[in-house]
């Protein structure tokens, strides 16, 4: 793939991680990339609060975000039919890079997974990949999210592909992490000011 440049200016980026220092670190990297609208939250309640109040362009979220985890949050965002941020790109951060974890993130509706520890290069390349590889959305009774049938041929600028990387295969969904009632209650709790 030819060399690409990502323009981060005026993109509204929401970073969700329970560690305040980690969010500051990611914020700093994004500022270095040229981003000027970065929001930070520490839990799922904070994400819902932001999502109900404004439109964001991308969510960068930790897989262990309290209280239910980033994958349950992703699932909740994707399944909520009247949520105007339903199709936003979601990048999941995890310390556990095992294939099963990546598959769970993909089945929850995440666009991409990035393994911690982060580096400026790994973060840039994944964001560039999301920007330059738009995927169709699939809506079925059990899944709503980016088409899971894809393979990574390499990140923009020809970097990021590791020897051990495998083509991701389509898997059976293990079942939703949250019931629809739980998703509804998460949104309504934010609307009514509970957290």
């Amino acid at each position: 793939m030819a060399s690409v440049t990502v323009n981060f200016r005026d993109l509204v980026i929401l970073v969700a991680d329970p560690s305040s220092y980690m969010t500051m670190l990611i914020h700093s990297m994004l500022r270095g990339f040229g981003a000027n609208k970065v929001l930070e939250v520490r839990n799922s309640g904070g994400v819902f609060q932001v999502l109900t109040g404004q439109k964001i362009d991308i969510l960068i979220c930790d897989a262990r975000l309290p209280p239910h985890g980033g994958l349950a949050l992703t699932h909740a965002i994707r399944r909520k039919e009247d949520n105007e941020n339903r199709t936003i790109p979601i990048l999941i951060m995890t310390s556990d890079g095992r294939e099963t974890t990546v598959k769970l993130a993909r089945d929850a509706g995440a666009n991409m997974v990035i393994t911690k520890p982060l580096s400026p290069a790994s973060l840039y390349d994944r964001l560039a990949w999301i920007a330059f590889n738009p995927r169709q959305f699939v809506d079925t009774a059990t899944y709503f999210g980016p088409d899971r049938r894809f393979k990574i041929e390499g990140y923009p600028n020809g970097v990021g592909r590791r020897k051990g990387d495998k083509i991701v295969e389509i898997a059976e969904e293990a079942g939703p992490a949250l019931a629809q009632d739980d998703i509804d209650s998460l949104f309504s709790a934010v609307r009514t000011g509970q957290n």
Partner: protein, 162 residues
């Protein structure tokens, strides 16, 4: 009334604002963007030193209480959270040895959380290794530069998981 199952998948294209905006001309070239991001990380190095000290002290207090039989509720979850932070942030801040020791401690806490016996000597030994690796002389060393420490730590971790 039961909902009717949707007969097939609906597949549609989404043109997100992120993709539209990110592909506008005028962005910073990748190599330059990474260089600038690294410079921003270097700017917060003074805060990192203070943060690291506080995190280590808090972790040490948590472990000392548990070792003295006065463990706080959910101390393993709290200690694991701090260890993960030290591992992930430490590596990004180029403290490879610290990150390595914290990673070993995370494995220890993960196995305890999964039901393994809690061997406090192993946990305390890791905390001591963390304290050592934060010192200026060790801070930027790679794990392979201190083979004896790593060998000892691996032995301790292995014994704890038996």
């Amino acid at each position: 009334m039961a909902k009717h199952a949707r007969p097939e998948a609906r597949i549609f294209s989404v043109d997100t604002r992120f993709q539209t905006m990110a592909r506008r001309p005028g962005g910073v070239l990748r190599e330059k963007a990474i260089e600038l991001a690294q410079a921003k990380i270097d700017e917060i190095q003074p805060e990192f030193d203070g943060w690291l000290e506080r995190e280590l002290q808090d972790l040490a207090k948590l472990i000392a209480k548990a070792a003295a039989g006065k463990a706080e509720q959910n101390w393993i979850t709290a200690a694991n959270f701090r260890s993960r932070q030290l591992r992930d942030i430490g590596a990004t801040m180029r403290c490879e040895l610290l990150s390595f020791v914290a990673d070993s401690l995370c494995d220890l806490f993960d196995s305890i959380a999964a039901g393994a016996e809690c061997n406090m000597d192993s946990v305390v030994c890791h905390v001591d290794a963390l304290m050592l690796s934060r010192q200026e002389t060790y801070r930027h060393l790679q794990p392979e530069q201190v083979p004896e420490l790593i060998k000892g730590l691996r032995l301790v971790a292995k014994r704890a998981s038996l």
